[in-house]
Symmetry: C2
Subunit: 593 residues, 2 copies
Amino acid sequence: MDYRPDAADACYLLEQVLDAPAQLRALAPFAEIDSDLMGQVLEEAARFAGEVVAPLNAVGDAVGAQFHDGKVTMPPGFADAYRAFRQAGWPALACAPEDGGQGLPWVLEGVLYEWLTGANHGWTMAPGLLHGAYECLRHHASEELKARYLGRIASGEWLATMCLTEPQAGSDLGLVRTRAVPQADGSHRLAGTKIFISGGEHDLTDNIVHLVLAREPGAPPGPKGLSLFLAPKFLVPPPGEGRNTDLPPPPGEGWGGGTRNAIVCERIEEKMGLHGSPTCVLRFDDAIAWRVGEPGRGLSAMFVMMNAARLHVALQGVGLLDAAWQKAHAYAQERLQMRAPGGTLGAGEADPIIRHPAVQRTLDTERAWIDGLRVLAYHTGVQLDIARHHADPAQRQSAQQWCSLVTPVLKSLCTEQGSGGAGRLLQVFGGHGYVREWGIEQHVRDARITLIYEGTNEIQAIDLLARKVLPDGGAGIESMLQQLALGVDTAAADGPETSARLQDAVRLTQELVQASRAQAGLAFEAADDYLRAIGLALLGWAWHRIDRSQHARQARWAAPHRALRLRVLPEYEMRAGILRTQCRAAAAAVQAA
Amino acid sequence: MDYRPDAADACYLLEQVLDAPAQLRALAPFAEIDSDLMGQVLEEAARFAGEVVAPLNAVGDAVGAQFHDGKVTMPPGFADAYRAFRQAGWPALACAPEDGGQGLPWVLEGVLYEWLTGANHGWTMAPGLLHGAYECLRHHASEELKARYLGRIASGEWLATMCLTEPQAGSDLGLVRTRAVPQADGSHRLAGTKIFISGGEHDLTDNIVHLVLAREPGAPPGPKGLSLFLAPKFLVPPPGEGRNTDLPPPPGEGWGGGTRNAIVCERIEEKMGLHGSPTCVLRFDDAIAWRVGEPGRGLSAMFVMMNAARLHVALQGVGLLDAAWQKAHAYAQERLQMRAPGGTLGAGEADPIIRHPAVQRTLDTERAWIDGLRVLAYHTGVQLDIARHHADPAQRQSAQQWCSLVTPVLKSLCTEQGSGGAGRLLQVFGGHGYVREWGIEQHVRDARITLIYEGTNEIQAIDLLARKVLPDGGAGIESMLQQLALGVDTAAADGPETSARLQDAVRLTQELVQASRAQAGLAFEAADDYLRAIGLALLGWAWHRIDRSQHARQARWAAPHRALRLRVLPEYEMRAGILRTQCRAAAAAVQAA
């Protein structure tokens, strides 16, 4: 069966649980947003993901992107689906109207990409990179570059890439060696090899716009010597005419192509999964490029959209988990094996396996993760919109603080669960889960990359604790957690435990701040457990929000909530215990010294 | 890099930690076993696995077993490696001398297969099924069948399969429909389709011996109507000569082939991994077969070796985890990325990632699992030998009890860790872990099946709690845990906590026994957490044994032990807490009713 996103579920979470339409309407660009509009957009997004993109998931995996002689052919049907995506205006959903976009909130784009990924992770990688490139150029490119590229990227007429990684420079971009030599005409010549470039070459669009991290001659070593460059696959206009000032025809009026830039796709990787997305090795042979933003500010230009990009990846984890859940849930209703405990069948008869507690517990537990993570991710998406558009700087600041703290937590938590949870849902299929035809093992293979890209989950944890929590002595996160705790309804069944967990997370943070003063390395030892503890405290809060909503007593919501409280949230205590053991050890070591 | 098993490590655990040679020498068939002999066998096994089998792992995955027109061609090199394996006498390592075997202890065969699986899981599936078939025929087949088949299976001249699963009958073998119609000559005709048959067709041996679960006409529905049958790929001697009494030439003198039996390989499955092992759909078109054992006793004949087979799968998990660990450890020493906390490098320089705490913690934690699980599995292997060969029935009984209780725990614990731990070790490689060339992602894909086959891990948990612990009111496992607790050295640093955990597991068992009397379905709700809790209590005990041994203070052992105590064992409290919540809920439900 193909994934079919449940728009009603998403609307329920956004409206009834999170009151998102009212929050968005308070922002000037979204004054027109209401439940109807949101519902229409999401219904249409669910239809597109489920009917157009999902049916191509299996062929995308089985055939994969094919490399031959420098060219990449996308799997059958991918180009048509991309054309339909573009024609329907989906790429520009959240782009600014002045760039040809529809100017809708980021959170809706987030939900769209959650669903596209659940439907077909490989296909979704192609348009998935547009949004970062758009924001990056919008904020940092010269007017000339914007005029040439921004509209075409916003509309999805041309796709984009992010060329960061090199063989010796992965998590450590400071080691990037690609050279960018300035030319008399203001352009640069790029030389070097980039690896792991998603969509570095394909046949979906006429042109591909590469954003490339490189080092100018004389730049200092390390990350501060890096600048960002734009290098298109085809040059606009053809080079050799002196200064590149002629503009191409306006977006949408067709483009007759240009001269090929010196960018060679050497091969594509053979990967565990995500076969529908070509992961390219690109060689820049003195390719013509233009700098985007200031020299030495390449990383900050590229990371302008870091929270949005990481939240996208978090939502990929949620989408893949939901797709796996739908498959397992459908299978468990059909598959007859063994009599359920307490059943009345005779020998040789069997119940649907959904009646077996081991299966039901897996379905309920993973459902609890999906729903709770959605609440957190959608709430964070709304905060992203508030941070960009609220009239009150204090509100923007507070929303930005939430995004800064919660995004690494979500990136790690959602992808860990997307991968691990899909694996547990595979187990529902028994041996049938291990063979290709049911499609569940593809989700497991595809999802595995999300723990790695856009900053490994280990780096998210260090980002949270070492870069964001400790520098202000924990003040930021403590005030955020306190505020959540104050909002808890302690008369609700899960109120006292939810509030206590949040308050304990505040104490835990204080203890870690103290202990880290005594032992600087502790942050790196403790980061993963700390991120996980914070994530679980937030997850409990998210479900408390669901529990206070209208339909919380329906089995649809009550069963996962029960599973969450019984089986998921106890991990908080375990993580807190591990962290406190480390804090005590740090204190003892200092005393002994 | 190819996996190279560490024979010295295994010898250390067997000799210094478990005192295995002395325990085995107390058994009549193994009076000659000493450290030297054990060391030689293991050195040779490590060499064979590392030098002959491991180099074929990547090609086995990339090329895979190929199906064409009913025939299966194994990947390049597999047949040669199998020939070398057979010529070296490895298949018969633990077979009885009267069947042409070497008569060595089961535990050494277990270690051999752990290493072969780490080296090349796909290849190892082929000989891996010999041992179950050998024991099954040895205990249940007629003298005539034994004379024709037993020696050839012991020597590995012919490989064997286990044909259990059908499309509608997976975990629930009671639903098997394959028919076995008795013939006047004492043979049967088999008709039906079996799926998921590992090695159902291949080109490694001249003949393949299928053991098939089927139902005779008039047999009752459900598992009690199933009998076991032997159906060879080639008939011995040719049929059509009346009674099949002529014996083939004695094993080892070559075999000219026979008439093809009516067994058709319809296709092989496309799987997530394990591509080197053909997973076949076999159709029996009135195939000629002979019953093995009594009518209606098919399942018990097949499960005579259940503990050994499940322990083999547990050791597969350990082998795959160790192979993944070796790869990640080697990579972490070579790969330079970022400055380690507290380091002194300048901008643009980088430390090997093994110096980063996030990497070190993964390596230490998974090492702790590998070593602790090895101690438990090797100890259980020795108990299997004692259960078979000890002169004292009470000793046999007690060893059998250990195997019966601990085997399902190990099958689940080791395979869960093999799969999940390999996934965490993949993370050490960053993006490079997701591409094929490093080989780590293959381990993750291959390992995933071990949670499913030979009884899913959920079925192991039910087997433990519902079938083994509750029926005797917990007496068996409580006495086993008590005895372990009594043996703990409470003067050791980890003594008090190890003993307390074992004693808490006794109390937890008592609480579950009580609560299950109040609420019969509880066992099925609680089984997975209970298995996990028991497994962690045993893991703590295993490391306590290592801690008391000679070299425990070396960093090789001390660092994983530290990781275990800090990060792994706290899960025991979490599981116990979840179980106690359920016990309280059950008691409250009874009071309310």
